[in-house]
Amino acid sequence: MELNYQIPRPALIWTLAAVTLVLLPQSIRMPIWISVVALLCVSWRALIHNGKLDYPSRRVRVVVVLFTLIVSLSQIRNIGIGLDSAASLLALGFVFKLIEMRKKRDIYVVISLCFVMSMVAFLYSQSVLTTLYVVLVITVTMAAMIALNRSSSAANHSGTAKLAMKISVQALPLAIVLFIVFPRIAPLWAVPMQTGVNSTGVTDEMSPGDISQLARSAELAFRVQFEDAVELAHEQLYWRGLVLDQFDGVTWRRTRNSSSYSRAASLANSRISYEDRVRTLGESVNYNVILEPTQQPWLFGLHLAEDINDEFFSGRNFELFNDGRITQRLSYDLRSHLQSQTDFLLLSSSRNRNLELPDDVNARSLEFARELRASVSTDREYVNSVLAHFRMNQYFYTLNAPLLGANRIDEFLFDTMAGFCEHYASSFTYLMRAAGIPARVVVGYQGAEMNPYENYLMVYQYNAHAWSEVWFEGEGWVRFDPTGAVSPTRIELGVQEALRDDPAFMEDDLFSAAIFGGVGWLNTMRLRLDAIEYEWNQLVVNYDEEVQLELFEGLLGEVTKQKVIILVATLALILIVTIGFTVINIERRIQRTPINRFYLRACKELAKVNLVRRRGEGPIAFRDRVCAERPEFAEVLTELTGLYVELTYVEKSVSETQKKAELQALKAVYAKLKTEMPVLAGLRRAG
């Protein structure tokens, strides 16, 4: 017969609160029915406590297990084995454990699971906010543990909460130390991360409407910080992503004749050595980019970005690729030569690719291009006249471009005359190719917002942009931005200014920052928050094995085995000493009265001349011994001892002022002893 253990009410309340808090951030990502099941379980457990419901019967439990099994299998079938399916399976098991939480042991299991589950949040986000939230969850979980172990008479919620907070704060220094020194070990296994998540940002295909879709989003794409406080003008900030050189009449694509993401292919592509293709001119700028996860392998950088740490490989057209999709925030250092020129020599295969046009469409445009090319003498002049065409005619820069039919370029150029950057880049490139000039579309971002608090740039999804590169004999690829011809504001001041009155701009974000950008203090707060987030990413999220090693090298010089051992030993020692002191302080804090302090100080003085008061020796006995051994001290010590005994052992009622006066007298005698000390000590030596 097992004892019917009743979980204490405060412990149950705290535990259920912890469970709810743990599941709250995940409920956003998990299917809605899991949240419903969780809510049911939490209320069921609360009702069990109140005696309204009973623990689940064996049959119910079997059903629940089967249910979980089926659900998990179906999830794996639908979205594959990944973080989401694993997280929801864990959450289900976790909430079902609640309803069969009978004994103390069970509640410990649930509390331990709370700690594990709270860590799941970090798999999705490592922002400051998440961290603070997890700290809150851990504190509440700790409170549950405290409530479980407190006697019911001492249990009041605020006391429990205070103790939990105290413990959390005390754990903070240890957490920081462990964060800094704990070895970063590569995981032995990995869960495929967030398979179900759509990629974000600029893609390797551009159809009309793609980028204008991005412009509706105020999500952050990446942050950039320049070295040496370099400041570039807004119109110089072309964050190059991918080069698209295949056009089928609707969509611009990247050529992927051989899988261009692989290292081998990229090596094969650069048959002409890098030095031969590039002529670097002018000063270079160094900068660090922190890219938000895109679920795509490509990276963004300024013109001719060179990866300083040699972590990535570059594509044929000087694009940068990561080895694998970017599923976590990625920080990388780049160097760009803004004035450099590339590809003076164009291989015939490459030239052909960049001249290719779809057949049988856009006849009007082809005609227009040929006529215009015939009217001018050089390719340069042709480019300028095309740009002038955009500038002179009633072209309109808008997010809500009208739908286009089969002859897209024709319709846009001559009929609708309204579009977003992709329309301009696309048609411009088409016109170039139609006139026999190699040209291609480049997608990426243009512009940025400065964060004055930490001096870095913020690039948002609405900064997404497309422009063109045109190849000239002797000059290589040259960047042209037809959007600049239509809407100079877009390039010089940014998309926010250009689309100020366009209701579609950032319409996905109801409370978007940019809409409230006009409100001064809100904007300040937004920038400050972002600055904090930025610092957090720099200092905490990016703290990996390399940074750790660098930090240690900075502190200790070269990291050797001995140094590591010494460091670890020192830290362990500090830890032990701290804990020791804490324990001693908790045990008892010795508070001496001022009288005792002065007496002990006097004893210390005497100890200097080898008159040590033994442990346990009373003041009178000590005085008698000193008088016998060193009569020269008799006078002053008798005075001191008399006063001390009078003050310490004679019980009498005295006023505060009297007490002060007495203490003053003792001080005076102590001072006298101190001044006479050398003389008296000298007496003995002389004698």
């Binding site: 346990g616 009373g618 003041p619 008698d624 005994v645 310490t648 052992y649 004679v650 019980e651």
Partner: protein, 326 residues
């Protein structure tokens, strides 16, 4: 070895303040000292015990002057005095008294035993059987005896000075801890020093020396001492010190058991009397240290010790390791 400890732990000098009481003590000590040479400190402790209203146990080898001390004390204090010689066939009735049928009056008449006197010397208490021991010890605690249903009060003041041979000797019934606890102090006399022994050898027999002791305190003086010692003050610092001493004996592996609250009360009571005897109206740590060995030794026992003779070294630890200032 048994008696060598006393000198070592006595504080260097007893500091005396000239008061009427301290002078009285001084003369008494001198008077008793006539009979027991060179044992002033032990005499002083014995007086302290009696002035505190406690019973005294003197433990030493035969022939060390245990009986002499008790005789001399009784004479100097002018108390009525009876002696019980402990043997294994001594019965409780031999101590407490007995009712005898008087044939002339045809009535039982009570013949009080030796317990009905102000000072009882129970010699060799550990040679009597436990039954007799407990009768005596009960009387000590209750200060009254019940014989044949009738409760009789013992005289006031009532002191018992018991002597015992160290229990390691043959034919003894060692007193259990609970009964040892009834004695406020346990004294050891120890061998006399060279000078005192020489003096002793030059003099006549012991009996003559006790004869020479004159009464120097009255019953009223003794009662006055007991009353005044209760008025001696103790400061917080001193109480802290005593508490630390007591706490030191508790919960430690080497102490078989810690001091009981009765033990700490005994310390305070004796220390107050000691302070009064030194002519002070407040207790200083030296007072506590002076009486501590005799008050505490028989209440402590080391874990490793089976026979109860480790108290002295434990008290030495107490004195050496517990500082007067925390």
């Amino acid at each position: 070895m048994l008696s060598a400890n006393v000198e070592k732990i006595t504080p260097s000098q007893v500091e005396l303040v000239d008061t009427k009481l301290s002078q009285q003590v001084q003369t008494t000590v001198a008077e008793v000292g006539k009979a027991l040479l060179g044992k002033d400190h032990q005499i002083r402790l014995a007086l302290c015990c009696l002035f505190s209203g406690g019973h005294l146990l003197i433990e030493d080898l035969p022939g060390m002057g245990k009986t002499t001390l008790s005789y001399a004390l009784a004479k100097a204090l002018g108390l009525s005095y009876k002696r019980i010689q402990g043997t294994s066939d001594l019965l409780p009735a031999d101590i407490l008294g007995i009712s005898i049928f008087n044939q002339t009056t045809s009535e039982f008449s009570f013949h009080p035993g030796p317990i009905f006197s102000q000072l009882v010397l129970a010699d060799e208490i550990n040679r009597t059987t436990p039954k007799t021991q407990s009768a005596l010890l009960e009387a000590m605690e209750e200060r009254q005896v019940t014989i044949e249903g009738e409760t009789r009060m013992l005289p006031e003041p009532f002191f018992v000075i018991a002597t015992q041979n160290p229990v390691t000797l043959a034919g003894t019934y060692p007193l259990p801890e609970s009964q040892l606890d009834r004695f406020l102090m346990r004294l050891r006399l120890g061998y006399p020093d060279q000078r005192a022994e020489r003096e002793l050898l030059e003099m006549n027999t012991e009996r003559d020396k006790v004869e020479a002791v004159n009464q120097c305190l009255s019953l009223e003086d003794v009662i006055a001492f007991r009353r005044q010692s209760a008025e001696v003050t103790t400061s917080d610092s001193l109480l802290d010190y005593v508490q630390r001493l007591v706490a030191f004996t508790r919960g430690k592996d080497e102490f078989h058991f810690g001091l009981s609250p009765r033990g700490s009360l005994a310390i305070m009571r004796s220390a107050k009397t000691w302070a009064l005897m030194c002519g002070r109206n407040h207790v200083v740590p030296e007072d506590v240290q002076a009486i501590l060995p005799s008050v505490v030794e028989h209440r402590l026992r080391a874990t490793s010790d089976d026979e109860g003779h480790s108290g002295a070294s434990l008290v030495q630890r107490l004195l050496n390791e517990v500082d007067i200032i925390e």
